[in-house]
Symmetry: C2
């Protein structure tokens, strides 16, 4: 285990004070230029030195003909170059004294041809000679939104978050920027590991284990080479933060696809299942599930047990949630007399004071976000609250109309009220220290839903994803109790 995050070879790679950039030009369609622009657009505050054989200025920055001309030794070199010159440039970086690099260029071992394999060997050997640690080749780069660092070709959308990602697919870094933003999530730091010729996914996981912005680690796995080290590293991290992994090589077709993608060796599914289990890693069955689990694991406190209480306005959505609970081994809390009594005055007689608690539509709809969840959170038998959110923003607007608020004031008043109710739920999270999770079938373009997501309350499209994530949360704390922190 790392004693300090600064011990990791990845520290300078995702926290560089200065970067030598190879492969950007004033040709806007070149990949290197696109990547340099991603970096500049996000507002990276360190120094960037474009290195270009002919240009004196690249994208508004002073360019240098040779890396040896740079006025300092940059912390990091980023190489987006034709395969055949990568090795020479690494050699020049080494001579300059640069010790860390990201090699975006492809055409190495993953090409499947002998020349590519040979070039990769040569790259590894050159780097080793200079003590250079590098990520790649054939990777998409890294993102550390907290430092406004993004060396990938896609714009990093949304706010910095708490999910640390190490991925054997570059797409699952870049293509998740927008995806995560939809759920109010973001990366703390994300690595595309590429061919792992020098730094591998285990190194990334160890870095993320020590990273203070990372609350949960997400892995996309096509194949692990250092199996034993992977398990040991995971076990040392689990007592501090959860790790979730999606392994794609489990099925024959997945194996085939993964293999042609990075040249990694996928293994039989039970092998990986065993490895994850030994490491204390929660396994996800898709990318969607990977981030569903991360959202809840990073946002919510430890639940005291497996008992849920479900709050709904209508039977079907409550029944579906209850059904999934049964299938994944979660229980519905039995409500105490005190709770039943307290709900009696809040729920109309057509409602159901059982669990799922079906409050129907009558009486004061604002209770749904206020008095009713409070009663359910007070319930000692309930460890987790799951709330169905039909169309909260419209409910609020309708309630205001009924209270006689003039039409022209409703939008403003409704915004204020939604903020207050969302703040209230945030307050419940702090006060009761019980996980609170929402679900809806409707679009996430709802101010109330966005407000809850922004305050760290996970909301899922449909109860199945919510309940599976809750089960993963419960399971993580069960696993953690069994794994003793390794001496460090």
């Amino acid at each position: 285990m790392l004693r300090s995050i600064r011990e990791s070879p990845l520290f300078p790679i995702v926290n560089p004070r200065s970067i030598a950039f190879f492969g950007a030009s004033n040709n806007s369609s070149a990949m290197g230029t696109t990547i340099l622009n991603s970096l500049l657009v996000l507002g990276y505050e360190g120094t960037v030195y474009p290195v270009h054989p002919r240009e004196t200025e690249v994208q508004g920055l002073r360019a240098y003909e040779r890396v040896e001309d740079l006025p300092e030794i940059p912390d990091l070199a980023v190489l987006v170059l034709p395969t055949e010159i990568v090795c020479d440039k690494i050699e020049e970086c080494g001579r300059k004294g640069i010790r860390h690099a990201i090699v975006v260029s492809g055409g190495f071992k993953e090409s499947g041809v002998e020349e590519g394999r040979r070039r990769q060997e040569q790259l590894v050997e050159t780097a080793a000679r200079h003590g250079i640690r590098f990520i790649g080749p054939n990777c998409i780069g890294v993102a550390n939104p907290h430092l406004k660092l993004n060396t990938t070709f896609l714009r990093c959308e949304g706010s910095p978050g708490f999910i640390g990602m190490a991925s054997q697919s570059g797409s699952f870094v870049t293509q998740m920027f927008n995806y995560l933003d939809q759920y109010g999530l973001g990366f703390s730091t994300a690595f595309s590991v590429g061919n792992e010729a020098n730094i591998d996914i285990v190194d990334c996981m160890e870095y993320l284990g020590a990273c203070p912005h990372t609350k949960v680690i997400a892995l996309y796995v096509e194949g692990i080479r250092r199996g034993r080290r992977f398990i040991e590293a995971a076990r040392s991290i689990i007592p501090r933060k959860p790790i979730v992994a999606y392994y794609v090589g489990g099925s024959d077709t997945g194996k085939q696809a993964g293999f042609s993608h990075t040249g990694a060796m996928a293994g039989p599914d039970p092998l990986y299942d065993g490895m994850f289990r030994q490491g204390g890693i929660i396994r996800a069955s898709s990318m969607t599930e990977l981030f569903d689990f991360c959202s809840l694991l990073g946002n919510m406190p430890e639940p005291a047990g497996r008992n849920l209480v479900i709050q709904t306005h209508s039977g079907g959505p409550g029944a579906e949630a209850a059904d999934v609970c049964g299938r994944v081994g979660l229980q519905l809390a039995e409500l105490s007399e005190k709770t039943v009594g307290a709900l009696g005055s809040l729920i109309p007689h057509t409602g159901s004071i059982k669990n799922p608690v079906d409050v129907t539509f009558s009486k004061n709809p604002l209770d749904f976000f206020d008095s009713i969840p409070r009663v359910l959170l007070e319930e000692d038998h309930a460890d987790i609250l799951l709330m169905y959110l039909l169309m909260p923003t419209e409910s609020v607007a309708r309630t205001l109309a009924r209270l006689g608020v003039p039409k022209e004031d409703i939008e403003r008043e409704s915004g204020t009220l939604i903020n207050r109710l969302c703040d209230g739920i945030e307050g419940f999270l702090e006060e009761y220290k019980k996980p609170i999770v929402g679900y809806t079938y409707r679009s996430f373009n709802d101010d109330f839903v966005r407000g809850l997501l922004a305050r760290g309350m996970p909301v899922y499209p449909g109860p199945e994803r919510a309940v599976r994530a809750i089960e993963a949360l419960v399971r993580y704390y069960e696993i953690r109790k069994k794994i003793h922190p390794t001496g460090d």
Copy 2:
């Protein structure tokens, strides 16, 4: 089996020329008023006669004190009344000669108390005396968007569609209006069956089997009373259209929730599993999956087999799709030499001409929606095409920029080009008669994605849902081959 849709007791209920409406007033917060407004807002073109003891006009319509005063015998009565007067009003409807009703009112058997049970018996007996067929009580009504009929309390959003729904939860009618619209889907006709005191879910399924607007039937099931008839009816429908069911009572917790919801008896999961299997019904494991399956079953032609070809721009998303294929028993088509040759000129050397076909990002991005899918659809070994849609609208805009289209024209030009490309894919569907399915991780607020959905190409958030739906499509045609049409 119905010889004609007009034989169904539900025909006048969802195709009424005139409606007697009980329970609406000029009090805008009353449920009856809300429902009447839903009906009027959607633009129902038949005659509506509000019946109200005191008002002479209700929501701008002439109101009648007693149903006997109406100038004609309406096809349908809708009752949204306090429990205690429902039976009397049904009696009056019967005397007037009305033979069909929707009883929205609750407080009957589902209340769990003796009085409710007794009232329901009385309602059944009164209706029977007059030969009245009715849906409910304790139901949320029906929607037939093709006729602009919506007797539920929520606005029916989006366009009429091809999904016929019979639901033992009213929420799963109303709360799916917006949900389906997000996916470019809509109901043909939807029934909330409530307590099924007279008309039950089997009747609804038979109606939908005969309904010309319905291409696929969706069932939300908490418990089936007429098991044998259910199986027989399903088997008679399957040769003409697929049926998908989500059964919520399978787990103990689901059973518990479903029971308290409608008072239906849920049974053990294997019983229902067997019933669905005998009926040739595809089983879904959640509401999301129910509609995922419906989308593909209603939109796509019969695939020739289980072999997929996956088109992607990047490895990870292709590998995930391949992995799910393996897990659900679909195969990746082996590409013939002809296909490999044709792709060779379209895909850069860093891409992968295997299956998944990884076209990467270089060369002409527009090929992705045009020449490349054409080559893959020409492939005899591939029965189904699955396309990854990274961010098609942005790709189109970027391509136009590179082609030198001035900035101010890009939005318009991009709209035109997107339309043309979407039309092209629609043309492929007609030309090749092979299922084409898309997936993306990004938001569905993308013009290209909306354009494909509008043209009937299903797009899913993530490959897992896409592949599971494809498997259901394949399975339906396998089942159908085994079920011979029952003589009718």
